[in-house]
Amino acid sequence: MAELFFVTKAEYVDRALRGFARDQRDIVRLHTAPAYVRALATNPARRVGLVAGGGSGHEPMHVGLVGAGMLDAAVPGRVFASPHNRQVYEASRSAAGPEGVLHIVKNYTGDRINFGIAAERLRHDGIPVARVLVDDDVATESTQTATGRRGTGATIVVEKLLGAAADRGTGLDALVELGRAVASRSRSIAVASAAHTSHVTGRPGFELAPNHIEYGVGIHGERARQTIPRPPLEDLVERMVDDVLANLPAGTRALVLVNGLGGTTAIELYNVFAEVEEALGRRGVAVAGSLVGTWTPALDMKGFSVTVTMLLPDDGAWTALWDAPVWTATLRKRG
């Protein structure tokens, strides 16, 4: 722990939640034992509550996305660890609408199981529950295991679009259909030039030779399958855009998320975004909406990810959902 600025006399995730809830007291309320974050304002048109969660260390995901137009509740685990099913269960009971609750879950075993158990418990209580699984990381496309692609930055896009749809009174089944469609049209790839600081050892999570990068790194410090000599940024972005598009249906308009992994500066991310926009343009894809910033970090890792959500030929009202009002700690639009 030595190298991260965490309190030593209390549990630092709880401490951060407390600080967050104090800072954002106009938007959220913190529930403790079990810990979850709840939106103060609920759109009366919502029939389904939206709940997401996962390990801590990926902030603002998810607590920073709780609020009008997005999540009704978020459930933070300890750093890089799944939340307990009881957190999910109680947050969901609190957030459920008249038509139940939708879980937005990143594809990790612990998250799947704990959200799944909570769902079993909610159904047992008579509350309808459904799940949208986000699995966008093309670096994990063809592993030998049954675990599938990891869920990373696309979660932000899925949560935004589902939040806007829920605000229109969309029912549970239609939300699931939308969420699955968005997830299936969203892919990401991440690179890192330096590991995060391990919250366990206080040392870098892995060692990387100078001028090398992990190509396809995970958001918990999972190394990539490849360490490559660092190409110029222009060439690196070309390759990333190619790898992402290769895993997506063809299209001409896209939502783009350029995401810092925690130790990456805004000036770097805007360099990346300028390159991504041009790289997509050369491939006939226009940027219909963008987010550039630290949205899904891996603690303080130095690196970034690129997420593309390819819009449907007829748009399917997705850009309207993207532009719809949202008011959370971190994402704010007036619509």
Binding site: H84, N85, R86, Y89, T109, G110, R112, I113, N114, G116, I117, A119, E120, R121, H124, Q144, T145, A146, T147
Partner: protein
């Protein structure tokens, strides 16, 4: 009663369970199971019936026990509790139905299939065997079968859970979770027929 017997088995098997989870995971399964059963056992009211004791244990595992296995075992126990509450007079049938529903819930939640090397590889074949038999249930035979199925996971390459990360290197050691649920059948056998103890293997030596 039933939970007390399960606790006794988990205490006896604790070191082995830890060792097996260490070999393929993070080594906390023995603690999760034993400490969960200790906590559950302490909360069961005196003279509780089967439905009450399994319901109490289920809630404790679901709410308080960590790891992947804690809440999965909670789901299993809660299904048994619901079935026992629904048919208090036909315990055998209720328990089988409860275990079957619980296994289905575990598979919905954990998405493990038979052969992925998880506790499902003890539950599913043991219950298949029980459903095949006519007449009253021979719980001693069921426990023996459960332990055999659990031990057979040593031949499976893990595709789910933490063990999937080490792949074939898990071969040769049984799956800790599978042994852990086999102990529930061991406890059931003793619960239904206290005289069966001598016919059952020593839980410390699985």
């Amino acid at each position: 009663m039933l939970i007390g017997l399960y606790l006794a088995a988990a205490e006896a098997a604790h070191a082995r369970l830890t060792e097996y989870d260490q070999a393929a995971g993070d080594g906390d399964f023995g603690d999760n199971l034993r400490d969960g059963l200790r906590g559950a056992h302490a909360r069961i009211p005196d003279g509780a019936d089967l439905a009450t004791e399994t319901e109490t244990a289920a809630t404790y595992f679901l709410d308080e026990v960590g790891g992947t296995s804690g809440p999965l075992i909670g789901l299993l126990l809660r299904s048994v509790a619901s079935a026992a509450a629904a048919s208090p007079s036909d315990v055998d049938a209720a328990v089988v139905r409860g275990l079957t529903e619980g296994t289905a819930a575990i598979q919905r939640v954990g998405e493990a299939r038979v052969g992925d090397r998880t506790l499902v590889d003890c539950l599913a074949p043991t219950l298949d065997g029980l459903r095949g038999t006519a007449g009253p249930i021979d719980w001693t035979a069921a426990a023996t079968a459960a332990l055999a199925h659990a031990r057979a996971t040593a031949d499976l390459t893990p595709r789910m859970g933490r063990a999937s990360y080490i792949g074939k290197r898990a071969l040769g050691t049984p799956d800790a979770g599978a042994i852990g649920v086999a102990l529930f059948f061991w406890a059931l056998a003793l619960y239904r027929d206290p005289a069966s103890r001598d016919a059952l293997p020593d839980p410390a030596a699985l």
